[in-house]
């Protein structure tokens, strides 16, 4: 059993030479005044990846997350601090790193396996699994230089996951390959998680990180600004991006919620209490209680309904509906009354939000926080319940032909 990874006040400093003096002559000329600037890629970062859990690393470009992963993998050595772990570690820093283009797939599996510290007998035993997972049995005796980049990446991933690591480092490699293969990779990671593998996962995708990770560490310019619960960490990450005028990938361009106004509780009030679904002609009330930490005068409350395919059915807010809010301070109870629900049979998600009048500043955003079911609707296909009647009459052909 592995012991997880302990990252203890790790600092990594890069020297950026203004111009790399690589030759003796250049060194001689610039003797005594070697000009470089120091760049702190990691500044006293400490956290722990508990055994058997998955920790995600979020951060914008240049925040130091890849540097940290390389330090854990051992390709870089920190200037200060230490990284401790016990167990077999496999790093997916770059798929197919260490493959030699002139060697065949088979030769590369053996070479790569021994780079990971395996004996040839051990590689013999996983060889068939690797080839099967990579779906490359027909090409395994061809030189790797004739592989497509997808085949290359598949072989790299297959190699890394079949060594059965106790500790797995993953750096955004899942983006490679087609949809089906990347699904397969995610399934494999899921298996690892169930089997108790300790995983440190670097990603740009907030959604993927939130889906996969038990905890998330957020790096900003080499400093760790948050560590812990994925939702809290993602909020800090968005806030740090917001400061830089950026948005997170996978966030579809929305702005970071600041949390000055919090959704305390929310519920759906059914027209008939004993029934967990609503008829299209009935009324539905959606209640939300918000709490603000201070007096806020520029605010409106928004609501959005989505169906299960993610299609936006309806989106509106208090301002559009003509409800003026002068200011809030402390708790407020917001009630949305839907006088009828012209929707067909199905389940619908409710998202609630609060932001400034111009939408530029987001106080709170809770996606799919509630859901309700619509039943007893017309037997029709589509999204909306549209009341209509049909009449069928015979056409008098003699009138028409006259």
């Amino acid at each position: 059993m592995s012991t997880g990874i302990t990252i203890d006040s790790v600092t990594k400093e890069f020297r950026i030479h203004d111009q790399q003096a690589k030759s003796l002559k250049e060194r001689f000329i610039s003797m005594g005044r070697s000009s470089y600037t120091e760049f702190l890629a990691l500044d006293d970062v400490s956290f722990e990846v508990p055994s058997g859990t998955t920790v995600g690393l979020l951060g914008h470009n240049g925040s130091g997350k890849s540097t940290l992963l390389k330090c854990v993998a051992g390709t870089l050595r920190p200037n200060k601090g230490s990284i401790r772990y016990e167990g077999r570690l496999a790093a997916l820093l770059e798929l197919g790193a260490g493959f030699h283009p002139d060697l065949t797939g088979r030769e590369n599996i053996y070479l790569n396996g021994s780079i990971m510290g395996m004996s040839s007998r051990q590689i013999d035993r996983i060889f068939d699994d690797v080839v099967a997972f990579a779906e490359l049995s027909a090409f395994i005796d061809q030189q790797v230089k004739y592989y497509s980049s997808g085949m290359y990446a598949r072989l790299g991933f297959a190699m890394a996951v079949n060594v059965d690591p106790e500790i797995l480092l993953i750096d955004e490699v899942l983006a490679v390959g087609d949809e089906a293969f990347s699904r397969k990779c995610l399934d494999r990671i899921d298996q690892f998680q169930k089997a108790g593998t300790t995983i440190l996962f670097v990603s740009h995708s907030v959604e993927l990180a939130r889906e996969l990770c038990d905890q998330i560490a957020v790096l900003d310019a080499g400093k760790m600004i948050a560590f812990g619960d994925p939702n809290d960490a993602v909020r800090s990450y968005r806030a740090s991006l917001h400061e830089r005028g950026l948005t997170a990938a996978g966030d579809s361009g929305e702005i970071a919620a600041t949390g000055e106004v919090k959704l305390v509780k929310s519920w759906v009030e059914m027209p008939v209490e004993a029934r967990d679904w609503v008829r299209p002609d009935e009324q539905l009330r959606i209640h939300a209680v918000y709490e603000s930490a201070m007096k806020i005068d520029d605010i409106l409350f928004a609501i959005a309904l989505h169906d299960q395919r993610g299609t936006l059915i309806h989106s509106s807010n208090s301002s559009v509906m003509g409800t003026e809010i002068h200011e809030i301070d402390g708790r407020v109870h917001v009630t949305y009354l839907l006088t009828h629900i012209p929707l067909l049979f199905g389940t619908y998600d409710v998202s609630l939000g609060a932001h400034t009048q111009n939408g530029g500043y987001l106080y709170s955003q809770e996606d799919a926080v509630l859901r309700f079911n619509v039943g007893d609707s017309a037997k029709a296909d589509g999204i909306i319940e549209m009341p209509f009647t049909v009449t069928v009459e015979p056409v008098d052909s003699r009138v028409g032909s006259d």
Binding site: K25, G74, R77, I83, G113, G117, Q122, D164
Partner: protein, 300 residues
Amino acid sequence: MNDSQDDSHRQVPRPVARRSVANAEAPSLLQRLGAVWTYRELLGNLTRKELKVKYKNSILGFMWSLLNPLLYLIVFSIVFQQILRAQIPTYAIFLLSGLLVWNLFSTGLASATGSIVGNASLVQKVWFPREVLPLSSIGAALVHFFLQTLVLASAMLVLRHAPSPTGLLLIVPALICLLLILSGLGVFLSALNVKLRDIQHLLELVLLAWFWFTPIVYEYLPIQERLGSSSWIAFINPVLPIVMAFQRALYNPPSGIVLPDESLLWYFRNLGVSAVAGVVLVIVGFMMFGRMEADLAEEI
């Protein structure tokens, strides 16, 4: 077998169990040597890779490594025997017995020096004991050496030239001494070359001078006559005893010509000096490597 025993309760084979601490401090010399030993199979595979890749897509393949000493043999035989009229009987055997071991040294050192720069992508992305890279270059040179010995062996058969039966005892210790010197220097220079790319070009020149200062195409005796009582100066060159051991064993001249008329013990004693130099170079080389290793992935 060891690593599969403790794994027996699991179905899937796993890489060598690793306990690791990535500290700011460099691992000690013993830790580094231990890591190289753990990764010995990688050493073999990288050596094989180097050999495979070198002659991939070439028609003659391994024949090229045999053509090199053959060409030397022809050129030097013409120059030294026909033009300069050197007084060395069966010059071909004399030349090859020293030249092959020198080739091992020079090609091994040159390729080891370029090995880390040449495998930049690997060094930046995967962790393994980096010393394995220069060592595998030396491994590949060693394989070429054994192939080239076939040329020498067949030449000895054709010319009916017998090696010295007792002198052959020198071969294995001499080879070990050479590999020690080669490993120490090669490991050190491979890391230095990352910081200072001049090293590989400078090395070419140094090796050229070193070659001509070592009695390979000419014999040792004139050096000894010239230096007289201070002939120890020649032995500053740690490769000299090794080359002479090979000449003594394989060329096996009649006493008094070409090689000094000394007992086998004299050769062993000289090899002892080389061995000490080799061990010192390995210790210093690996230690210096350790100091430079931290920055390798960044500076490359």
